[in-house]
Each structure stands twice: as structure tokens, then as C-alpha cells.
């Protein structure tokens, strides 16, 4: 019990350290950039009174160490500055958009990972066959498509030529009833999720395939064969569990990037998520918001890495032994 608590504690501590590091970087960006740092935080369009207020609140007249402390303190309390474009606190603006992005990305990643792992496992068992080559070729093709291009193509085909799906948005106005709402959102998700999963899938497929090829030549696979297990079971039970570790690790790191990674896709599908938020923040030079998104990305990355660690410990007892003891 104690060891598990220590483990969680250590990981959280590591996550916090990363977040603090990111906060430090943003602090220095704010403070070392030419011009008045208060303007950075308040936004260029802010009124002089507001800039004064910010100057006071963040102590821009105080020595730098003190300012750093004040800044971190503000961050910790959830005061991430004020978005000039949205005329709302940064954190609030971000939290409003985060669920939409998470919904889109989690769905896309889940599909990409599941399909990628499945296809990776299947192709690895027939490595260098025609089937393997075909799957690799197709997935690589999707991988090399720019996201915006794929997104536009899908819109062109599936909402303009064949009007099966909407061109964008998350939910139509005026939908009543919970079930209807859910269905409507799913309907809107089809095209953006397809775009993203097709692109993400290739890396999972290739990683799984490569690791599986190694695993499949391990000694314990010979034991499984000699036991008389059917091929399917050997691949999906004995081998895949071993191959899962690097895949989980990759998903853990990738997940953090997805927040900002889906910028183009979100914009094209006018998905009300972090991606379009970031675009707006940059377009309108809403620095507090840009920095806030930066910090939020760090937080999500650290947390997803933490989840990945726990998952890995679950899959591999040796990792569990190392982590938890």
C-alpha cells in the first residue's frame, strides 16, 4: 500500500515539476519579451486602466523573484490571466473548449489505437506478405496526407457530393431530447473523427507491427506454439500483450500533443474546441490565452503520461515491480 502511494506521489510530483517548468518558461517569455510585460498579460487592446491593474496585481514594479512567485501563485489559484478576445478569464475560456476537443480526440485516438493495434498485429503475423504490404501502403498514404487536405476531401465527398454528413459544427441548433442530442453530436463527429483516426492510425500500426515482429520470434512464443494454441490466440493473447507496452507509452506522449495538434482539422470542421481557440488566440495576439493553452497542454501531457505508466504497470508485472515494488 505504502509503495503504491509513493509511486502515485512520485509520478504526480514529476507531473507537477513539468508543469512548473512550463510555467517558468511562460513566465520568462512574458518578462523577457520586449515591451511591457503587463501588456503581454493584459493583451494589446487593453485599456490603460486595466494594464495598470495587471501591473499591480502581478507586481511588475517588484524584483523578478518576487514577481515569479506571484505569477506561480496566480497560476495555482486558477488565475491564468484575462483573455482580451473573449473578454473572459483564460482558464474559463479554455475549460469551455476543452470538453469538445477531448471528445473529438479521445474518440479519434481510441479508434486509431484499436485499429492500428489490430492491423499491426495481423500484419506482423504475415509480415512481408502481400496483405502486409497493402495495409502498410494504404496506411502510409493516409499518414502522409496533410490533415487539412484529407478533411477537405472528406467534406467534398461525404457532405457535398453525397450529402450524408454535415460540413462542420458540433450540434445543430434546436435539437431537443438527450438521445437526439447525442445522436446529433455523433453525426457531426463522423467526418472529423475519420480524418484524425486515419492519420493517427498509421503510427500505431507501424509501431505495433514492428514490435510484434520482434515479440513473435521470442522463445515464449515457441512455447505457445508447442502447446498447441491456435495462431489467433498466440498473436492476440501471448504476443500482443508484450507488444502493448511501447504502444501505451506512445499514446501517453501523443495524447498531450493532440490538444493543439488538431488545430487544422478543428478549424476546417468548425469544431468548437481548443484548436480553433488557439487559432483565434494567435490571430488576435491574445497572449494570455496562448500561454494558457501552452500550460494546459503541459498539464494534459503530464496526466496522460501518468495514466500510461499505470496502464503499463498493469500490463507488465516487471514494470509494476520496478514502479511499485
Amino acid at each position: 500500500m505504502k509503495k503504491f502511494v509513493t509511486f502515485v506521489f512520485k509520478r504526480l510530483l514529476a507531473a507537477i515539476l513539468v508543469i512548473v517548468a512550463v510555467a517558468l518558461i511562460s513566465f520568462f517569455v512574458i518578462n523577457l519579451a520586449p515591451g511591457n510585460p503587463a501588456v503581454m498579460l493584459a493583451g494589446e487592446a487593453a485599456s490603460p486602466e486595466y494594464i495598470k491593474e495587471i501591473e499591480k496585481a502581478y507586481g511588475f514594479d517588484k524584483p523578478i523573484e518576487e514577481r515569479l512567485f506571484i505569477y506561480l501563485h496566480h497560476l495555482f489559484l486558477g488565475d491564468w490571466g484575462y483573455s482580451t478576445y473573449y473578454q473572459a478569464p483564460v482558464l474559463k475560456a479554455i475549460l469551455q473548449r476543452l470538453p469538445a476537443t477531448l471528445l473529438l480526440m479521445l474518440t479519434a485516438l481510441a479508434i486509431a489505437i484499436a485499429l492500428g493495434i489490430y492491423l499491426g498485429a495481423v500484419t506482423s503475423s504475415r509480415a512481408f506478405s502481400k496483405f502486409d504490404a497493402l495495409v502498410n501502403y494504404v496506411s502510409l498514404t493516409f499518414y502522409s496526407f496533410p490533415a487539412y487536405w484529407l478533411a477537405l476531401m472528406l467534406i467534398l465527398i461525404f457532405s457535398l457530393y453525397i450529402p450524408a454528413f454535415p460540413t462542420g459544427g458540433m450540434m445543430d441548433i434546436g435539437i431537443e431530447g438527450a438521445v437526439q442530442k447525442v445522436l446529433n453530436v455523433i453525426w457531426h463527429m463522423v467526418l472529423p473523427v475519420t480524418t484524425l483516426s486515419l492519420i493517427f492510425m498509421a503510427s500505431y500500426l507501424r509501431l505495433t507491427r514492428q514490435v510484434m515482429i520482434d515479440v513473435l520470434s521470442s522463445n515464449f512464443i515457441f512455447t505457445a506454439i508447442a502447446k498447441g494454441l491456435p495462431k489467433k490466440r498466440i498473436i492476440f493473447k501471448h504476443a500482443l500483450r508484450n507488444a502493448l507496452i511501447p504502444v501505451i507509452a506512445m499514446a501517453g506522449t501523443q495524447f498531450g500533443q493532440v490538444i493543439a495538434g488538431a488545430v487544422l482539422t478543428e478549424t476546417i470542421f468548425s469544431w468548437p474546441g481548443m484548436g480553433s481557440l488557439l487559432i483565434q488566440a494567435v490571430t488576435y495576439r491574445d497572449y494570455p490565452l496562448v500561454i494558457g493553452i501552452f500550460i494546459m497542454t503541459a498539464i494534459v501531457t503530464s496526466l496522460s503520461n501518468f495514466v500510461a505508466d499505470v496502464l503499463m504497470a498493469r500490463v507488465d508485472p516487471r514494470i509494476k515491480a520496478k514502479l511499485i515494488g
Partner: protein, 318 residues
């Protein structure tokens, strides 16, 4: 003797190493009578593991079978399709591999791996399967089988892992057990128990055993019949008492001599040897010119079979 349960004919096998070929088995023939215990002995690197892996068709990718047939109960295993092979692997022929820990799946508990075999081949489920697993582990003289059941491979000691592998192989009540150094990681007190157990199953349930070992004491304890392999070739074979009492081949003699603590012929630098030469020739105290040119024919002699020019010469003399 009854019909052989397993018969290997002229098996030749090479490993591809880079762009060269390494011939690991050269025209190996052997026959395992039903209900017998046959031992395959030979030096490290002589091709023992390779030979038995080809029986189960669990060879690494680099291995190429160039020639030969392997008959199990009359069927040629090398030409069976995967589906028919599934009916034999694990069910009729079980295998215990060398290097026990690496042959257990690192992310699956002993329980999962052992019960899998029991469920697959014995049709037991749930609690019944678990009880059978516990029974097998106690047969292996593992203290606290319940604990061992819950361990993962990296938590086992070398000898514990080896016994788990043996338990797994016996789980299906096979008719042929192929065991590669099954007691190499066991201390004498456990080794003798496991060997007696195998003997018991062999006698009570007519289990045929093909045993690979470097340990001649193990051979003496359990085997009826012995094949001696060197450099990928069978040098000599015969009844165990005959092999120990009147060895014919200089290599077999060497092996037995070194047991009694007497010195043995140091391996000389091998150099390159002709493909057809006797692989033992460079080390052989009795080597003659012919040995470096041509591998001798097998001859029946004193109730054994041996391939050696000098033995042939000796016979001609008498």
C-alpha cells in the same frame, strides 16, 4: 521392439547466418520406440536443440530444412498443414524447452499459462482446472504451489521455472514428451524426484520420452536407449547398458572417460573441415586420413551402431 512412435530419416538442416550457411544437422536418422526412454547426448552446440525443434516445427526463421522426413505415428510431420499440426502439438507431443525463464511469457502469470494448457487439452474449466494446476505443481515438488501459481516468470527461480515448464508439458497427458535439458537447473534432491516422476508416468501411462541432456548420470538413471550426436551427426547409438559398458566411438569413450575424472582430449583448433569429413576427426586420437575426407558408414557392431573409420579398421583387423 514395437513400432517407433517417432522416426527421423536423413534430416539435414542449415541455419542462414548472414549470407553463409551453417549446417547444423547432417543426415540425422533416429528412431524412438513407443513406450521407451531415448536419450540424445552430445556436446554443447552439437545440434540437439535444433533436432527436436524441427520435430515440433518450432524453428527460428533462419533455419532451413534441406532434406529429410520426420514420422510421428506414421505421419510425416514436415508435410502436415498447420491445422493437422495443431492436433499433435501439445496434445500428443509435448515439449520442455531449454532456458526455462525465457520460454515463459513474461507478462502472464504461471496460473494463466498453466491453466491454458489444462483447459485446452483436458477440457477442465474454472476451479477444476485450477486444482489440476495445483496438483501438477505439487507433483513438481514445488513448495507452496498456491504461491507459485500466482507468480510471474521474473519472480521464479531458475529451477522453479523449469518445473513450471515440465508441469505445463505434462498437463495434456501427451504420448510423447520431448524434454531439452529438463533438469539442468535443478539441484540433485529435486532432480532425482522429477526423474523418478517421469519414470513413473512413463511406466504407468506408457509415456514415451525423448530426453536431451548433457548429463550422463541422468542418462544412466532413466534412459533405455542412447543416441550420441557430435557436430550435427549421429556418431553412435545403442542400448544404454551397452553404451556405458562397451562404448565404440572414440567420442563416446571420451565422454565416459572424462566422467571418471580422467583427462580428455582438448579440442584442437578446428580450422576448416571438409563438408563430408567426420566432425570429430580434429579431436580424435584415432583419426586416420579417411576421417577427414568422408563420413563413415554406420555399421552394426556388438549390438550397437556406430559410424567410425577406425572402428571399422579395428573390425577388419580382427
Amino acid at each position: 521392439m514395437s513400432d517407433p512412435i517417432l522416426r527421423i530419416e536423413n534430416l539435414s538442416l542449415s541455419y542462414l547466418v548472414g549470407d553463409t550457411k551453417f549446417r547444423a544437422l547432417k543426415s540425422v536418422s533416429m528412431s524412438v520406440p513407443r513406450g521407451s526412454v531415448v536419450a540424445l547426448v552430445g556436446e554443447s552446440g552439437s545440434g540437439k536443440t535444433t533436432l527436436i525443434r524441427s520435430i515440433m516445427r518450432v524453428l527460428p526463421k533462419q533455419a532451413v530444412i534441406e532434406e529429410g522426413k520426420i514420422y510421428f505415428e506414421g505421419k510425416d510431420l514436415l508435410s502436415l498443414n498447420e491445422e493437422d499440426m495443431l492436433k499433435i502439438r501439445g496434445k500428443k507431443i509435448s515439449m520442455v524447452f531449454q532456458d526455462p525463464i525465457s520460454h515463459l511469457n513474461p507478462v502472464m502469470s504461471v496460473k494463466e499459462q498453466l491453466i491454458e494448457s489444462i483447459e485446452l487439452h483436458r477440457g477442465l474449466k474454472g476451479k477444476e482446472a485450477e486444482n489440476e494446476a495445483l496438483r501438477l505443481l505439487s507433483l513438481m515438488r514445488l513448495k507452496d504451489p498456491q504461491r507459485v501459481l500466482n507468480l510471474f516468470p521474473h519472480q521464479l527461480s531458475g529451477g522453479m521455472a523449469q518445473r513450471v515448464l515440465i508441469a505445463m508439458a505434462l498437463a495434456s497427458n501427451p504420448s510423447l514428451l520431448i524434454a531439452d535439458e529438463p533438469t539442468s537447473a535443478l539441484d540433485p534432491t529435486v532432480q532425482i524426484r522429477i526423474l523418478s516422476l517421469l519414470k513413473e508416468i512413463h511406466e504407468n501411462e506408457n509415456l514415451t520420452i525423448l530426453l536431451i541432456t548433457h548429463d550422463l548420470s541422468v542418462v544412466a538413471y532413466i534412459a533405455d536407449f542412447v543416441y550420441v550426436i557430435y557436430g550435427g551427426r549421429i556418431m553412435e547409438y545403442g542400448d544404454v547398458h551397452r553404451i556405458f559398458g562397451r562404448p565404440l566411438h572414440p567420442y563416446t569413450k571420451d565422454l565416459l572417460l572424462s566422467l571418471s575424472g580422467r583427462s580428455f582430449s582438448e579440442p584442437k583448433k578446428s580450422g576448416t573441415l571438409l563438408e563430408d569429413a567426420c566432425p570429430f576427426a580434429p579431436r580424435c586420437p584415432q583419426a586416420i586420413e579417411a576421417c577427414f575426407k568422408q563420413f563413415p558408414k554406420y555399421v552394426n557392431l556388438n549390438g550397437g551402431v556406430v559410424a567410425c573409420h577406425s572402428v571399422n579398421v579395428g573390425r577388419d583387423d580382427t
